[in-house]
C-alpha cells in the first residue's frame, strides 16, 4: 500500500508491503530516522515513543496504516541542536542521559505530557511517564521534567498539533 503522512513537518510517502508493519520500522528502517528506538516490540517499555497528532504513541505496536494523513513527530523533529525543544534543553541542563538508549522515548513522552499539562505535579508525572530506563536515570529525569515545564512557552500549550 501507499502510505502518506507528515513526518517532522515534511510530507512523506512510502510504499509498504504490509500495512500492519509497526510504525517504528517505517520510521527507522524505511525513512532511516534512528532516534526512535526498539526496546520490546510490545509497547511495554516506551523506548519507541513518538508523537502522533501531538499525542505520545508507542510506535513498536502501532500499525503504520493508521497514520495515513496524520502528523508524526520523532525526536529528530522535536528540536535541533541549534534550537532545542524545552524538554531537550532541560535534559541537557540536568545531564540526564547515561547510556542514552531510552532517552528519546522519555523526552517524547515528556513533551506530550507538557503539551496537555504544562505544569504537571509529581503525581501526574508518575502517572504519565511510565517508560523504562535501565540506567535508572529517573532522579535527574524528574528534575528535568520540572525544568522543562518551567522552560515551556506559556501561551501556546494545550492545542498545539491537535
Amino acid at each position: 500500500m501507499k502510505l502518506s503522512f507528515v513526518l517532522n513537518n515534511n510530507p512523506t510517502t512510502v510504499e509498504l508491503e504490509d500495512e500492519m508493519t509497526p510504525l517504528l520500522w517505517v520510521v527507522r528502517d524505511i525513512l532511516n530516522l534512528k532516534g526512535t528506538k526498539f526496546g520490546c516490540g510490545k509497547a511495554a517499555c516506551g523506548a519507541c515513543t513518538l508523537h502522533l497528532g501531538g499525542e505520545a504513541v508507542r510506535s513498536c505496536s502501532y500499525p503504520a496504516k493508521f497514520v495515513e494523513g496524520k502528523n508524526v513527530t520523532t525526536i529528530e523533529g522535536l528540536g535541533t541542536k541549534e534550537n532545542p525543544h524545552p524538554v531537550q534543553q532541560a535534559w541537557v541542563d540536568e545531564i540526564v542521559p547515561q547510556c542514552g538508549y531510552c532517552q528519546s522515548g522519555f523526552m517524547m513522552a515528556t513533551a506530550a505530557l507538557l503539551n496537555k499539562n504544562p505544569t504537571p505535579s509529581d503525581k501526574e508525572i508518575d502517572q504519565s511517564i511510565t517508560n523504562i530506563c535501565r540506567c535508572a536515570t529517573y532522579y535527574r529525569m524528574r528534575k528535568a521534567i520540572h525544568k522543562a515545564s518551567a522552560l515551556m512557552p506559556k501561551e501556546e500549550s494545550t492545542t498545539e498539533n491537535l
Binding site: G41, A44, C45, T130
Partner: protein, 716 residues
C-alpha cells in the same frame, strides 16, 4: 623518580579525511596473574589496563582543523567513561575540551582491551596510562616543533592545542602535518593535580548532545548499503538441543531471502525485521528437551552445602554447637539484565574479510570468535564497537556476532540481526540466584566474637567466555560470585567465609556488581540484626568492628559521613524509618541510608543518602550520576525483580511482568557525598549498588519488626 619509557612498537601515520597525524603506541602489557594477586585484585579493585599485547595501538589522531580524536579502548555504555577519558587526555595534551572528541577504537587500530569493558575499572585502569600517553604526545609535538622551527623546548608554551614561543604560534595540526617518523621521549612528568583544569571538574558528558537529539550511535542503529535482516531460532526451554527443523513454510514467506541451516543454529535472512521475525516463527524446530525445570529445583540446587566449597577467609576459630548462636538465611533470585537495547550486530563478510558493528563489552573476544568460525585471520575481522544501549555485564559475551557473520557470508550481503525482547529475557546470561547462611555469636559486652558466612551462587566468572579458563582453576573459586563476599569488619576475632559454587542448567554470568548485591544484602542485614541483638546503634556497632588500617579508615569515614549527612535516626518517626548499610567493592567503600515508609502495603523509598570514597573523582558529576543510577537499579532489584522457572522456561519475557523500578518508584531525594581517601581514581560504576538492598530491608525492620531475608523484599 625512576622514569619508564613507553615501549614503542611502531608509529602509524594514517592518511585519512582531515587527518594529519596519528600516534599509535604499543604499551601496557598484560601482567601475569597469580592466585593471590587475583584475589587481592578482586577485593581491592586493582585492575591494570590489559592492552592488546604487542600490537601497535592507535590512541590519538590530530585533524586538520586542530582537533584531537581519542580512540578509546573502553566502550561507552552510559558509565561516562568517554567524558572522564577526554578530561584526562585534554589536561595532559593542553587542549580545550571542545578540541577533543572520543570515539570507540575499532579492532583494526589494535587499541583493544584484551579482556573487556567492565568491572568498574575503565577510568582507574587508564588513569596513569592515558595521561602518560597524552603527556608523551604533547612532548612529541614539541620535539617536532623544535625540528621544524628550531625552537628550544624550555621556551615553548603549550595552550589550547597551540605551541608558542613569544608571538610565534603553531597549531598541533600544523606541527603534525607531514611528520612520518615521530620521536618518542622519556615519559614526561605528569602535571601536578592542582594544575589540572578539567580533571576533578563536573563537566557535561561529551556524548550528551548525541543522546538528547537522537543521533544514530547505537549498535541497533548501524546501517550498510543493501543491508538485510536476520533472525535466529531459539528454544523456549532450558537445555533444549537442536535436532532438526522444517523450513518449508518459512522459505516461501514474503521477504524471505534465505534460510540458513548450520549444525548449531537455524537462521533466517529477510528484507525487513518483521519479515525475518515472522519467518522465524514459522520454522518448526524439533528440540530435544530434557528435564522440565521449576524455580524450586533451582532454589534447591543453590543451597549452601551443595556443590563445591572454597574457604575465602578464616581468622581465629570456628563456631561449634554452643548456645547463643544467632543465625539467619538469606536468598536472592535469578535476575535479568533487561538492558533496553537488545543484543544485536550488523555483520558483513566479503572476500574472507569480516566487518561487524556491534554493541559489545568484549571487542577482542568477538573478533576471535568470528575469525575462528569463519576460519580467517583475526586481522581480517574488524570489530567496530558502537555506543551500548546499556551493558551491565550482558554484553561480556556476544556470540550472536558469529551467527550474523555466518548469515552474511551465506547471502553475500550485510546482515543486521538482533534479539526480540522475548529472546533477550529467555536467553539472558542471568544474575545467578544465591543462598546465604550467616551465623554469629556476641560476647558479653555485645561485640561480635564469631561471624560466619557461607554463600552459594551459580556461575559468574566460571564458564565465562571472557576470562581465560585457568583463572577460575587457579583461584579455586568464582572470582565474580565472591564480590562483596569478603567480610570488611576486620576486627572480629573469629571470622570465616566460604563460597559455594553450583552448576545450574542455564547460563548465568556477570550482572552489574556481580556478587556484591546479594552478598551485601546478607552481610548488612545480618549486621543490623546483630546490632539490635547487642542493643547498640547500628552505626556505632559497625564502627566498633572495623580495623584501624587504611582500608578500615576509609570505610569508617563513609559510614560516619552517610550517617551524619542523613541525620540517621535509629527509631521510626512519623511513619518513616531509616535503614543503614555499607559495603566495600573493588576497593571503594560506600555507605547508604534509606528513608522508607510503607504505603498501601508497598515499600516506598523517599530518600537515599550515599557517602562513597572512590578516590579522585575525575568527573564528580558523573560519579554522582553513577551513584544515583546504581541506587535505583539496586532498589529495583531489591524490591521488584525476579525471574522464575516454570515448566522448563525462564519467565517472564517482557517488561511489566518482569517488574522494574519506574519513575514513580524513584526516591525524590538522593544525596551523594563524595570523599577522597586515596590519591587516584577507584571503582565507581558498581560499588554504590551494594548497600541499598540491606539499607531498605533494615528500614523495613524498624517499621514492621519483620526481618525480610529474601530478595525481592516482601512484606507478606
Amino acid at each position: 623518580m625512576a622514569k619508564k619509557k613507553i615501549s614503542r612498537r611502531k608509529f602509524l601515520v594514517r592518511g585519512g579525511l582531515g587527518t594529519v597525524g596519528v600516534v599509535a603506541v604499543g604499551t601496557y602489557l598484560f601482567r601475569n596473574p597469580i592466585r593471590r594477586k587475583i584475589l587481592e585484585q578482586v577485593d581491592g579493585g586493582e585492575s591494570p589496563y590489559l592492552g592488546a599485547g604487542m600490537e601497535p595501538m592507535l590512541w590519538f589522531e590530530i585533524t586538520s582543523n586542530n582537533k584531537v580524536i581519542l580512540h578509546s579502548p573502553k566502550v561507552e555504555m552510559g558509565q561516562g567513561t568517554f567524558t572522564g577519558l577526554a578530561q584526562m587526555a585534554a589536561d595532559e595534551l593542553e587542549i580545550h575540551m571542545e578540541q577533543i572528541s572520543v570515539v570507540h577504537a575499532v579492532s583494526l587500530t589494535g587499541n583493544m582491551d584484551n579482556f573487556a569493558t567492565g568491572g568498574s575499572n575503565s577510568i582507574s585502569g587508564l588513569w596513569l596510562p592515558l595521561r602518560e600517553l597524552a603527556a608523551t604526545m604533547r612532548e612529541m609535538l614539541k620535539t617536532e616543533a623544535s625540528k621544524k622551527l628550531g625552537w628550544v623546548n624550555e621556551d615553548m608554551k603549550v595552550e589550547g592545542g597551540v605551541i608558542s614561543v613569544g608571538d610565534k604560534k603553531m597549531t598541533f595540526a600544523e606541527i603534525a602535518n607531514g611528520v612520518t617518523d615521530w620521536e618518542i621521549p622519556e615519559t614526561p612528568n605528569l602535571k601536578e593535580f592542582k594544575d589540572y583544569r578539567f580533571i576533578g571538574k563536573p563537566l557535561p558528558r561529551v556524548d550528551l548532545e548525541a543522546k538528547v537529539f537522537g543521533d544514530p550511535i547505537f549498535g541497533m542503529d548501524a546501517e550498510m548499503p543493501d543491508m538485510l535482516y536476520g533472525a535466529v531460532v531459539r528454544p523456549d526451554k532450558i537445555g533444549a538441543v537442536f535436532k532438526s527443523a522444517d523450513i518449508s513454510k518459512a522459505e516461501s514467506m514474503p521477504g524471505v531471502i534465505k534460510i540458513i541451516q548450520e549444525d548449531d543454529f537455524v537462521g533466517v535472512v529477510a528484507t525487513s525485521f518483521t519479515a525475518a521475525e515472522k519467518a522465524k516463527e514459522a520454522i518448526e524446530v524439533n528440540w530435544e528437551v530434557g528435564q522440565s525445570w521449576q524455580t524450586n529445583d533451582i532454589r534447591e540446587m543453590t543451597k549452601v552445602g551443595k556443590g563445591d566449597a572454597f574457604l575465602l577467609q578464616k581468622e581465629g576459630s570456628e563456631l561449634g554447637e554452643e548456645d547463643g548462636i544467632i543465625s539467619r538465611e538469606y536468598t536472592s533470585p535469578i535476575g535479568a539484565h533487561a538492558q533496553l537495547e537488545p543484543n544485536g550486530v550488523l555483520a558483513f563478510v566479503e572476500d574472507s574479510k569480516a566487518t561487524l558493528k556491534i554493541s559489545t563489552q568484549v571487542v577482542a573476544l568477538t573478533r576471535k570468535e568470528v575469525a575462528k568460525r569463519l576460519d580467517i585471520n583475526e586481522d581480517d575481522v574488524n570489530v567496530i564497537p558502537t555506543f551500548l544501549g546499556g551493558g551491565f555485564g550482558r554484553r561480556l559475551h556476544t556470540p550472536h556476532a558469529v551467527q550474523a557473520a555466518v548469515m552474511s557470508k551465506a547471502v553475500g550481503k550485510p546482515v543486521k540481526y538482533f534479539f526480540s525482547r522475548k529472546e533477550e529475557f529467555q536467553h539472558d546470561l542471568f544474575r545467578p540466584p544465591t543462598h546465604h547462611q550467616l551465623k554469629a555469636k556476641l560476647d558479653n559486652s555485645g561485640n561480635i566474637e564469631y561471624l560466619q558466612h557461607d554463600f552459594s551462587s551459580g556461575d559468574v566468572a566460571i564458564n565465562s567466555a571472557m576470562l581465560p579458563g585457568f583463572i577460575s582453576t587457579v583461584v579455586g573459586t568464582d572470582v565474580g560470585a565472591i564480590r562483596g563476599g569478603f567480610c570488611h569488619y576486620g576486627s572480629i576475632p573469629n571470622l570465616r567465609t566460604v563460597s559455594w559454587h553450583v552448576d545450574l542448567p542455564f547460563a548465568t554470568s556477570w550482572w552489574r556488581s556481580l556478587g556484591l548485591l546479594a552478598n551485601t544484602f546478607a552481610w548488612e542485614s545480618f549486621m543490623d540484626e546483630l546490632a539490635i541483638k547487642a542493643g547498640k546503634n547500628p552505626i556505632d556497632f559497625r564502627l566498633a568492628h572495623i580495623q584501624d588500617d587504611d582500608k578500615g579508615k576509609r570505610l569508617k569515614a563513609v559510614i560516619i559521613a552517610a550517617a551524619k549527612k542523613a541525620n540517621y535516626q535509629d527509631k521510626a518517626f512519623n511513619g518513616r524509618a531509616m535503614g543503614f548499610a555499607a559495603s566495600t567493592d573493588a576497593g571503594t567503600p560506600c555507605a547508604q541510608v534509606a528513608e522508607v515508609s510503607i504505603e498501601n502495603d508497598e515499600i516506598k523509598v523517599h530518600k537515599v543518602t550515599c557517602a562513597m570514597d572512590p578516590g579522585i573523582a575525575v568527573n564528580p558529576d558523573q560519579v554522582r550520576a553513577q551513584c544515583e543510577g546504581a541506587i535505583i537499579m539496586g532498589m529495583s532489584a531489591s524490591l521488584f525483580e525476579k525471574m522464575e522457572v516454570i515448566n522448563g522456561e525462564l519467565t517472564p519475557t517482557i517488561y511489566g511482568p518482569y517488574q522494574m523500578a519506574q519513575l514513580k518508584h524513584a526516591p525524590k531525594e538522593i544525596d551523594v557525598v563524595l570523599l577522597q581517601g586515596i590519591e587516584r581514581p577507584g571503582a565507581v560504576g558498581e560499588p554504590p549498588l551494594g548497600p541499598i538492598g540491606a539499607a531498605i530491608a533494615n528500614a523495613v525492620f524498624r517499621l514492621t519488626n519483620k526481618r525480610c531475608a529474601n530478595l525481592p523484599l516482601s512484606l507478606t
